[in-house]
Symmetry: D2
Subunit: 380 residues, 4 copies
């Protein structure tokens, strides 16, 4: 399957990278994405890692496939392995009742709808940015419904999504709800331009104003919201690593090709040690990123939550990939900062990755807490 995904991305998807169907945030339009999905469906590589009933590959297997799909920024959209859908499908597969899986998961796996995950809140209003305990969106029971109000920010794909998973605080603790979108009670206030361009719908700021949701659309029961966030956390984090590793593999290939063809000062670029060393460093860093991903995937496959391990992996991989993408840009000189190849976009996407799903610093902070806790436990 991985080979099939790779062929599909290389032979079919890459040609669409120059396709001009882009929205005003420079993201692929829904029309373009739909066409890509149709092609993936025809090639048998749509949702290659999960089935409508929620059964899915192991994380080790998923790692190989998602990496291949990531060889183009359009690949995950085409193959339906993109964030946030991939993580949302995983969550529904693990936490959804049969009814919820049937109603919400199946169409996602089928690629007919996009979804969004409403957790992060606006920094400027002191909401839950990297710190979920600051959540200010609330939900209150009202008969056999719940009423949700609050503000959310950086909600990837909210604009244009057909399914939403919303997190809010009740007196019992955090809750998660599934909702059909669009809904007049959910207003897209603003979709900022961002440094990355690969995600349709961008990253919206949203106001939820007395949204009524039937109680049957709560995921699990009240108070379990943070638990479900945890269930989704590590695999979703890891799948970012997988896709962007593929993207950086691609950037490396383009830079390598450039370095082997382009001449300067009497020889090809790769014959200059300054460039040759960068290619060698890329090779080493790509290997390290792959090993960290596979290690963390194995831990998840053994049934662990993998919170610390996925933090370690996210930090290591995002920083490694940043260095790789940066070197690719640098080796290509003026070409590297132009949109003539996809390297420039990958650089920007990877820059954002060092922040998305928790900035490096927040992960180090929580790892340090854990290290101290374990030291004290060993001492007592």
């Amino acid at each position: 399957m991985a080979a099939r995904v790779e062929s599909f991305v290389r032979d079919t998807v890459i040609a669409f990278e120059k396709d001009s169907r882009r929205d005003h945030h420079n993201c692929p339009t829904e029309e373009l994405v739909a066409e890509l999905k149709d092609r993936a469906r025809a090639a048998g590589v749509l949702s290659p890692h999960i089935r409508p009933d929620g059964s899915h590959l192991t994380q080790r297997e998923t790692a190989i496939i998602l990496r291949k799909s990531g060889l183009s920024p359009l690949g995950p959209l085409a193959c339906n392995t993109a964030a946030p859908d991939e993580g949302n499908m995983y969550l529904l597969a693990h936490a959804g009742s049969p009814e919820i899986r049937d109603r919400f998961l199946a169409p996602l796996v089928d690629g007919r709808l996009r979804s969004a995950f409403f957790m992060t809140e606006p920094a400027e209003e002191d909401g839950a940015g990297s710190d979920p305990s600051m959540m200010t969106t609330i939900c209150e029971p009202d008969g056999d419904h719940w009423v949700i109000s609050g503000r959310k920010a950086f909600i990837t794909g909210a604009s244009g999504a057909g399914v939403g998973i919303i997190m809010a605080k009740a007196s019992e603790g955090a809750c998660m709800f599934l909702v059909d979108l669009p809904d007049p009670a959910i207003r897209i206030d603003h979709v900022p331009n961002t440094i990355d361009n690969s995600m349709p719908g961008g990253h919206a700021v949203v106001t939820i104003d007395r949204l009524r949701v039937p109680a049957s659309q709560m995921l699990g029961s009240a108070g379990e919201g943070f638990h479900y966030a945890q269930v989704r956390l590590a695999p979703a984090r890891l799948s970012h690593c997988m896709r962007w590793l593929g993207a950086c593999q691609r950037a490396h290939e383009i830079a390598l090709d450039y370095a082997c063809r382009r001449r300067a000062f009497g020889k090809t670029l790769i014959e200059h040690e300054g460039v040759g060393f960068m290619l060698a460093e890329n090779l080493i860093d790509l290997q390290q990123a792959e090993l960290m991903i596979d290690w963390c995937a194995s831990i998840l496959d053994e049934g662990h939550l993998g919170t610390a391990e996925s933090s370690m992996t996210k930090v290591a991989v995002s920083e490694l990939l940043m260095r790789i993408a940066d070197r690719c840009v640098q080796m290509m000189g003026g070409q590297g900062v132009s949109g003539d190849t996809v390297v420039e976009q990958i650089f920007r996407e990877v820059r954002a990755f060092r922040i998305y799903d928790g900035p490096t610093e927040v992960h180090k902070w929580s790892l340090a807490k854990k290290i101290g806790r374990e030291w004290r436990e060993r001492r007592s």
Copy 2:
């Protein structure tokens, strides 16, 4: 004057950063630039460093003013201190005959026209990228005209410019010509999207097809082209450093403000050492960048060409500013990668700066040559 430029940029220019008049490369439109220049003219801060007759401030003085103009990506456009005009005006001031200064320099200083410098050639055709000896554009005398043909790439501002300085090879060596633009013999083939957005006209790929230029529009005499390129080189390089230092100073201010207001995990961001350390590192790096610029400016002011010193400065400053801009993005989390503040744009501009005017590696390469040469001279 520096204070006046600073006030103008802070009080007037910054408000235009959200102005939607942008072309399809997301650069400010000519109309927006014209309005900004009018305001600068009214505030007495247009071309604050140079006069129509070519007299200009010292590099030390220029450093202060250009840094202030750089506090907004729009500032240099407004104040007419932007690349490539600033370097082109400098070159004409130093190498232009009175006639040339009168005809080409004066309107540039007056801000009525934009200019472009046609030196770099396309990488994919093995032209002069970072290596000027590979120049393939040629010029041949034809009566009292010269006829120029070739391909140029990464010609900043070519699209929309009113004046061009073109470098081409004759049998006598390199030559430089001044031309009025647009000219049907100069075709804009392609303006790639690039990671930076602050330069109107972008960075064009251009075909010059039997362009006829009167001999009187040659700068100096035939064969002196490389010499003039050298004259322009160090000051132009250095002025990039000045402007982008201003930009990073601004990014730092925005990130600092954010870090002092935004709370996470029970305290403001700046109270987190992870963030506080980044702010301290910025402070140190900003200081180092300023010192390197002032040092190199002093050397130029003493009458030296400053080739090596400006290489050292360009490498040091561009790498320092990259780290500063990167930290600003990182401290601001999701806000840092959004277009809601100018930090995201500054990060992208500074990324390009590590390549523009010679990638870091090319400068190190030429410095190493010089170090070896001087060692051998000391030994002999």
Copy 3:
């Protein structure tokens, strides 16, 4: 076995770190090493990875054991897993005839003798430093003997060794010989002080002056010397990574313990993010080093030479460990640069490791060559 080695090192060996029996290069004396080996023999952990007949554990298994032995700089000496003996034993196990194994390998495995590997030549005489093609030591047949002459440098453990493996050039190509030491024809000219102190006998500069060796003591046949060097190369390189990973694991433990006990500015050091982040970075880097080692070990276990993979691993691991050791020193402040803990020594040992067995730059250089070669092959 790994658990036994770990217990032995932690419970027995560490106590000897303060033992004052050191030679004038601050290396453990032969007497101290002999005592440590006796204890290892008694504990059943002497040469835990190899038997006198040359059979040995897989590289994956060896990785675990050597890492544990490395928890103290004295551990590899005690357990007979130290360089260069470990690599020499491996080479004899793979390339030695039964007679050679019997005569030279068995006493090494038994820990009765130390050995040295005479390959590197003096830089100042333009000999084979990182570049084996520059070898100037020569060997010539003379009846049923060979006569070897030349100069060698950085010969670890030469002083005090009982067995030598000498590489020299014949008309057929490189040859390797086994010799009993000491021999009057091999003169230790100089044992420089070096930044590292863990290897008895230091790193000697040696003159070989018409050394006569029976032809039966040639390893394999004439001209195969480089091949054998390759056989030894990757596993020996990798075993450095294993031991020093153990050492850095130990340094991290000491620094962690310090950071959890020591207070400054109102809280323990680990509660300062600046320190907590360093511990988190160590955790991530230790994991990455372990994964690279295990990956390369697997490739060797599959029967590959692993030249490129061990280069990648050597570069990655030595640079990771340097950063880890540096952070440990830094976290401990004044204590970190004192000899009161073993952290300071580990920092110095690891600094040398970035050079021993090929400096980082030489590995990158050869990797770049390989990358270019493979690109060309794919194109043709």
Copy 4:
């Protein structure tokens, strides 16, 4: 004078670097230092920056001289510009009464005695390491004497010093005292081996047990101890930067010379870009270090305390010099980690410098506090 110091160090001092008169910590013996001082006295370069009456050069002038003295690790000892004497002389020049200057300063300037500064306290007893508020050494008035008791650690040069400056806490606040050494009430408990070897007497752990000091030997008045510590702080910090910049200039010269002579893979090392780039980076970093020092020196010369500026400078310079020294070691391969040149020692000295006089992290911490304070002041 700077030229004279440079000639003296290059022509006279460097020859003593191989002198075997070293104590068991590998520091120069008192005898060797005395001989070096005699030669400096004869050459007119002893205490070139200060006179017995306390008058001294500006910091800008001092910077040039101390840098030259630092070209050898023995240079500052020879010229009497070494720590801690240099800082102690500065303090006495600024804070000592005529009597104190006469009795304690004059013999120090004359090079007849060494001195020590007793401030830092043992980490393991939660004393004042990087955090002076934790000071536990106390002093109490007793008639016209004061009685001091406590423990001090990392007291450079205490062993063998003739003069001590001791800081202790009274009810009025911190106090400073001048004492003759040795004194039976001051016991050297332990002089740890440290990574650096250039300071005679090493860095001692000391017990002060009811030391009686005449009240006339208090510096200034009771409670002013912290103020005097501040007076000494910035210049002493800065003088470290000056000396070690000289040392790294020297390491760079040695590495450059090596790189221009030594061949590998068919050309000299400097012709390899990997090495050439390192030399270029050194050149840039040396320049940056010099500029930061001169900038901070100017601020002190203008009469400011320069606490923040010297923190910024100390962080920038120590980190720059570490990178320089590390590159020098790396370029020289096996030679770089041997004691055959002074590069290896300089690397170790510079490693310690990142901790001495406040670890990088403590400076960043205090700078962050200051940045936040100033932000709040601007807002109010």
